[in-house]
């Protein structure tokens, strides 16, 4: 039991520097700001999905609010109101990225984002690309993600005048990133479980994927596929089954990425590849989700590696058993360092 508690505390609250959380904030809010500002302009064939203002002019005959929108009695706003809200929301995303008024900007990102993502879902069909963003913004709003790599931190430093100590290591900087990971892993795992529940092994060992690949040529999706390879691949027997097996295995295995760096290195690119393959072969695009996979990257180490390559190259761990004399030389062999 003690061991379990140790594992639990280590996973969620291991003392860490604020760097990684601050950098994850920049990546998340920066990527989403760029996505929601640029997609409607650069990719008109599907980018309109990233513009929420036109929903203000849609007939109320189609309005069927999703659960939480219904519980909160949120109505569909007018085009003018949505236009103003969208400007504020995009500014909040930008400020969140820069770390300016971080607490407020992340909170606005969540509240307005929640409404914006719920709005299209309340007009007929729920697409699942933006669920992860709702939870990500919520987690960031509750976290202390502005303690480092932010304008707020610079302002705080300038106000105090003197050289300030960097924020102490704390579990405060670990739990938000871990919670984001768990949200993503659980999401994919749930998708895998749904496939088992509704279809079982037949989902792989049947023409299911081939049928999906062909059906999407009938323009039934939120976006047309990036390539016309889907129907071609569907003509073979094995390739669709292999694709199905790959997808299901990666989804079901995703929770392993939480506990093992090796699995993370394998599963996170695999899941991004799966998402991209869906866009390429079937049509539905989950680019926001693909971008969110960047949150698995230990950005603090990346930055440290990029900014201090020479220093890190010449630092070696050293272990002695207390009986050897003073170190005279270091011998470096493949991967190991010995003191002589």
């Amino acid at each position: 039991m003690t061991s379990l508690r140790k594992h639990w505390n280590r996973f969620w609250f291991e003392a860490a520097s604020p760097d990684n959380l601050g950098l994850c904030r920049i990546v998340l809010f920066g990527a989403m700001f760029l996505y929601y500002v640029l997609a409607p302009r650069l990719f008109p064939s599907w980018g309109y999905l990233a513009d929420f203002v036109p929903w203000g002019s849609v007939s109320r005959a189609f309005w069927s609010p999703v659960w939480l929108i219904s519980v909160l009695h949120l109505p569909p706003a007018s085009t003018q109101v949505l236009g103003a809200m969208q400007i504020v929301w995009r500014m909040a995303l930008l400020f969140g990225c820069l770390g300016l008024f971080t607490r407020v900007s992340t909170a606005i990102s969540f509240v307005f984002g929640f409404y914006f993502f719920g709005l299209p879902a309340s007009f007929g069909r729920i697409h699942h690309a933006e669920h992860v963003l709702i939870f990500s913004f919520l987690i960031m709003a509750f976290s202390r993600c502005g303690d480092a790599w932010s304008i707020d931190a610079l302002i705080r430093k300038a106000r105090t005048g003197a050289i300030q100590e960097p924020p102490a290591l704390s579990g405060e900087y670990t739990w938000p990133v871990r919670m984001l990971w768990v949200v993503m892993a659980l999401m994919y795992f749930a998708a895998g479980v749904s496939k088992i529940r509704h279809s079982g092994f037949e989902w792989i060992n049947s023409d299911t994927m081939a049928t999906f690949l062909v059906a999407h040529a009938y323009h039934i999706s939120m976006a047309d596929s990036l390539t016309s390879w889907g129907p071609v691949l569907a003509r073979t027997v094995m390739i669709p089954r292999l694709l199905a097996a790959f997808g299901m295995i990666v989804e079901l295995a995703m929770p392993l990425a939480l506990f093992s760096r090796r699995f993370r290195c394998l599963l996170v690119p695999s899941i991004a590849l799966m998402q991209f393959s869906i866009a390429a072969l079937l049509g539905p695009n989950f680019y926001q989700l693909i971008l969110c996979q960047l949150l698995w990257v230990p950005w603090d180490r990346v930055v440290a590696h990029v900014t201090r390559p020479a220093e890190s190259l010449h630092r070696y761990p050293m272990v002695c058993d207390g009986q050897i004399g003073p170190v005279e030389a270091l011998v470096v062999t493949e991967g190991d360092t010995y003191a002589t």
């Binding site: 005959a61 929640f114 749904s194 092994f201 999906f212 272990v319």
Partner: protein, 308 residues
């Protein structure tokens, strides 16, 4: 000698661990007496861990065999007996549709269910095995780096736990119940085995009436912010609310407004129709304009100018 070897092994392990985890230059003094004691401890821990691993592996194999016998041998036999009324009364009573359903149908249903459960159990088994392997490996290494200190105040911890409870409570509720309470979801997209035919509501634009020329409005740009998948569900909802015509008029108005604004290059329309169309999909989608069935639900014409 054994202790010495273990000691070396531990130092090497520690070195690898430090290299991978800390990546800092540090000298870690290890008292040699402690090393001997911890080496002996590690040996007994190794034995225990191996036993634990063997136990769990054996338990999983036994469970898998038992499940296999139950699901693929006993239960089908039981279903066949119960179908013929030759089993225990409690099982005989479970099957009452002998007049309408052959026994093969019951067996096929059970096989489908058993296949799903088997698959789920296999995944669960893999996870249990991985957890056991992970825990025992850590115990074998006998290196428990100190757990990170929880340097957070109690109220703050409560906030974090409350946040986690909301997020993961909702997610797990929907996962277990297979319900969709937005923003929580069991993410069921693409999870069903699709039927051989494809059936959906589709809007058509009437370009001219005589002779009738109509085009399929399957381009996502025609009705933005709707896409073709969402508009079909939205129209279905409008129909349930007896507001289908109102919905289609909205689509027609939207189409024309977007066309005039140059947001798409579709032809001007004199009317809009909604059909329930059914295709048998082909790899080339060559029959996209010739569905197997096409059932007209409604047609609307543009409102005259100033009718609002």
């Amino acid at each position: 000698m054994a202790a010495y070897t273990t000691c070396n092994h531990m130092q090497n392990t520690r070195r690898r661990k430090v290299t991978s985890r800390l990546q800092v230059s540090s000298a870690v003094p290890v008292n040699s007496g402690n090393c001997v004691r911890s080496g002996v401890l590690a040996l007994s821990e190794n034995h225990r861990s191996r036993h634990l691993l063997l136990f769990w592996t054996a338990a999983l194999v036994v469970a898998a065999v038992l499940w296999g016998v139950f699901a693929y041998s006993l239960t089908p036999a039981l279903i066949a007996k119960a179908y013929q009324g030759e089993s225990l009364p409690i099982f005989n009573r479970l099957i009452g549709g002998q007049a309408h359903h052959p026994v093969t149908e019951y067996l096929a249903r059970w096989r489908r269910l058993a296949s799903k459960v088997s698959f789920g159990l296999a995944v669960l088994g893999v996870y249990i095995l991985l957890v056991v392997v992970g825990l025992t490996r850590e115990a074998m290494v006998a290196l428990n780096p100190p757990a990170g200190k929880v340097a957070m105040s109690k109220p703050r911890l409560l906030v974090v736990y409350a946040l986690g409870a909301v997020i993961f409570g909702g997610a797990l509720f929907d996962l277990v119940r297979d319900t969709e309470n937005w923003p929580f979801s069991p993410y069921p997209m693409f999870s069903e085995i699709p039927p051989k035919t494809l059936s959906m509501l589709r809007l058509y634009g009437v370009v001219q009436r005589s002779p009738l020329v109509e085009i399929q409005l399957d381009n996502n740009l025609y009705l933005q912010p709707f896409d073709t998948s969402r508009v079909a569900d939205a129209l279905n909802h409008a129909r349930q609310e007896n507001r289908l015509d109102e919905g289609v008029i909205d689509c027609l108005t939207r189409y024309e407004a977007l066309r005039r604004a140059g947001r798409h290059h579709g032809p001007p329309l004199v009317a809009m129709r909604i059909y329930l169309v059914t295709w048998t999909p082909t790899p080339s989608a060559s029959n996209i304009d010739r569905p197997d069935r096409k059932e007209l639900w409604t047609e609307v014409a543009p409102r005259p100018e100033g009718s609002d």
